[in-house]
C-alpha cells in the first residue's frame, strides 16, 4: 500500500513535469520538420501541425531575419541587467538590514511594489516615463536609447527579487561579522567583500538566478518599452499574433538545450558529490 502511494507520487510528479515540458518537446521535435514542402514558395513555420519529414534545414536559417539579433539582444539584456540588479540589490539588502525599523519598513514595502504590480502597469508606466524624459532630453539633442530603456526597466523589476532572496540570508548571518572585519583593519568595502558577501553567497546566487529568469521570461514590459529594437519575446509575439510566417521552432532548441544541459550537469554533479559524501559517512559510522 505504501509502495503504491509512493509510486503514485512519482507518477503525479512525472505527469506534471510532462505537462510543463510538453510544448517545449513539441517545438524541439518540430524543429526537425521539413517546412518547405506542401506550402507554396514561401516557408511558413505556422504549419506546425503536419509532419513532412526530417530535415536540419531549420537550423541553417534559425538566425535569419531578426531572430538572431533579437535573441542576442535578449541574452545581453538578461545578463547585464541581472548582474547590475544583483550588485545594487545585494548592497541594498545589506543596507536595509542595518536600517532602523521605520525607514526599513518603508523601503521594504515600496520594494514589494514591482513584485505585486501587474507587468502591464509596470510596462506602461515605463513607457510614459521614457517618453516624457526623452521629450525633455530632445531639447538638448540627447536621447535614451532603446537598449538603455530595456536595461533600466529590466533592472528595476528584478532588483526586488535579489533583495528578497538576500535579506533572509543576512538575517541568519551574524551582525558582528562586519564589525569584526572592520576592527581587524579592513576598509568597509574590504569587510563587505571578504566577510559579509561570502557568508550570504547562496542568497546572492539565487537572487541572480531569479533576476535572470525574470528577465528571460519577460514579454509585457519589453513590449511597451522598446520601439526600435525587439527582444526575442516581442519578436515571437509579433510573428505569431500578427505574422503569417510564424516562428522557426529551431529557436526553441537553440535557446533551451545549452542552458538546460548546463543546469543539469551542475545539479547532477552536486547530487553525485553529495551521494559520495553520504557513502563515506556511512563507512565512517560503520567503522565506529
Amino acid at each position: 500500500m505504501k509502495k503504491l502511494g509512493r509510486s503514485l507520487k512519482y507518477v503525479y510528479l512525472g505527469f506534471m513535469l510532462l505537462f510543463l515540458y510538453l510544448p517545449i518537446i513539441y517545438l524541439i521535435v518540430f524543429s526537425f520538420n521539413d517546412f518547405t514542402t506542401g506550402s507554396g514558395r514561401r516557408i511558413s513555420y505556422s504549419n506546425l501541425g503536419k509532419w513532412n519529414g526530417c530535415t536540419l534545414a531549420n537550423y541553417g536559417t534559425v538566425f535569419s531575419g531578426d531572430a538572431g539579433s533579437s535573441l542576442l539582444l535578449t541574452l545581453e539584456i538578461a545578463l547585464v541587467s541581472s548582474v547590475i540588479a544583483t550588485v545594487i540589490g545585494t548592497a541594498a539588502a545589506i543596507g536595509i538590514n542595518s536600517m532602523r525599523k521605520r525607514p526599513r519598513n518603508v523601503v521594504v514595502n515600496v520594494s514589494q511594489l514591482p513584485m505585486v504590480n501587474p507587468d502591464l502597469v509596470t510596462g506602461i508606466t515605463f513607457m510614459m516615463l521614457f517618453a516624457f524624459v526623452n521629450g525633455l532630453l530632445s531639447k538638448i539633442g540627447f536621447q535614451i536609447s532603446d537598449f538603455a530603456k530595456l536595461l533600466i526597466a529590466h533592472i528595476s523589476f528584478s532588483i526586488p527579487y535579489v533583495i528578497f532572496s538576500v535579506l533572509p540570508r543576512l538575517k541568519q548571518s551574524s551582525d558582528l561579522l562586519y564589525e569584526a572585519a572592520l576592527d581587524l583593519g579592513c576598509s568597509p568595502i574590504q569587510a563587505l567583500l571578504k566577510a559579509v558577501i561570502p557568508d550570504i553567497m547562496p542568497g546572492i546566487s539565487s537572487g541572480f538566478i531569479m533576476a535572470l529568469t525574470m528577465s528571460l521570461d519577460d514579454f509585457v514590459v519589453s513590449y511597451f518599452v522598446a520601439d526600435r529594437i525587439q527582444p526575442l519575446s516581442v519578436y515571437i509575439y509579433s510573428n505569431t499574433a500578427h505574422g503569417a510566417k510564424g516562428v522557426n521552432p529551431a529557436l526553441a532548441t537553440i535557446i533551451f538545450i545549452p542552458l538546460v544541459s548546463m543546469l543539469l550537469i551542475v545539479n547532477l554533479r552536486r547530487l553525485a558529490k553529495e551521494r559520495e559524501y553520504e557513502i563515506q559517512n556511512k563507512k565512517v559510522k560503520m567503522k565506529k
Binding site: L13, M16, L17, L20, P23, Y26, F30, L48, I88, G89, A91, G95, S98, M99, V107, V108, V110, S111, L113, M115, V116, P118, D119, L120, V121, T122, I124, T125, F126, M127, M128, L129, I152, I159, Y161, I163, F164, S165, P168, P188, S206, M210, T213, L216, D217, F219, V220, L232, S233, I236, Y237, T240, A241, L251, A252, I255, V260, N267, R270, R275
Partner: protein
Amino acid sequence: MKRKYFAYPYIVWMILFIVVPMFFIFYYAFNVDGTWTFRKCWETLTDGQKWRVLLMSVEIAFGTTAICLLLGYPIAYILSNMKKTVAGFISVLFFVPMWMNFVLRTYAWRAILEYALPDMLGFKTTLTGTVGAVLMVLVYDFLPFMVMPLYNTLSKLDKSLLEASRDLGADGKKTFFRVVLPLSVPGIVSGVTMVFVPAITAFTVPALIGNGNYNLYGNEIEQAFKVLAGKGDYSIGSTMSIILLICVLISTAVMNHFDNDKEGGSIL
C-alpha cells in the same frame, strides 16, 4: 562608514524608477491634452462594459489561481517530503521551462491545440478559442510561480512537529489539515499573489490561444493604449490601470492579512 549607506544607490533607483513612474499614470488619467479634468476618467469609471470585462478577468484569474493551487500544492508537498538533494534537483526542473520565454511556450501550445491534439483525437475544428484552452495555458504559464513559494515554505517546516502530531494520535489526514496546511499559509499567500496578479492582466494568452474571443481586462488596457493613444489619449488606459492597481493592492492586502511574515521573503 555605516552599512545602511549601501542601500542609498538603491533608494535613489527606487525613487526614480519605481515611485516616479507611478505618478505618470495618475497624471495621464486626469490630464487630457494638458488640462486637468475628471471628465474622461469619469467616463471610464461609469462604462459598464469595462466593469463587465474586469469581472470576467477576475473570474478567469480566480479559476487559474484555484487550479494552480490544487495542482501545485501536491507537487510542493511531495517534493518537501523527499530527500533534500533530490527535491532540490526536481524543483529546478519545475523552474527551467521559464528560461524559455513564455511567449514561445504559449506559441507551442497554440500549435498543439490547433493542430496536433485535434488531429490526434480526430476533431474537425481546433481546440483554440475555448475558455478551457485559455484556462489551461494560463495554468501552464503560472504553475511554477505557485510551486516555488509553496515548496520553499513546506521544505522549511519543522519535521518534528509532524512527528509530534502523529505521536499525539493524529492520523495523516488530521496532521495535514491541522498542522501542515496552517503552517504553509505564507507560501500559499505568496503563491496565490504571484499567480493571481499576472493572471488578471494576461493579454498574450487570450490573444494567442483564445482566438480573440476572450476580451480580458489586459486586452482592454492594451487596446486602450495601442488604439486610443494613437489619438494622443492616455486617459482611458491610465484610469483602467489605476483601477487594476487598486484591485491588486486590495487583494494583496487581504492576502497579507492571512500571513504574519510580512518581509515577503517567502516568495522565494
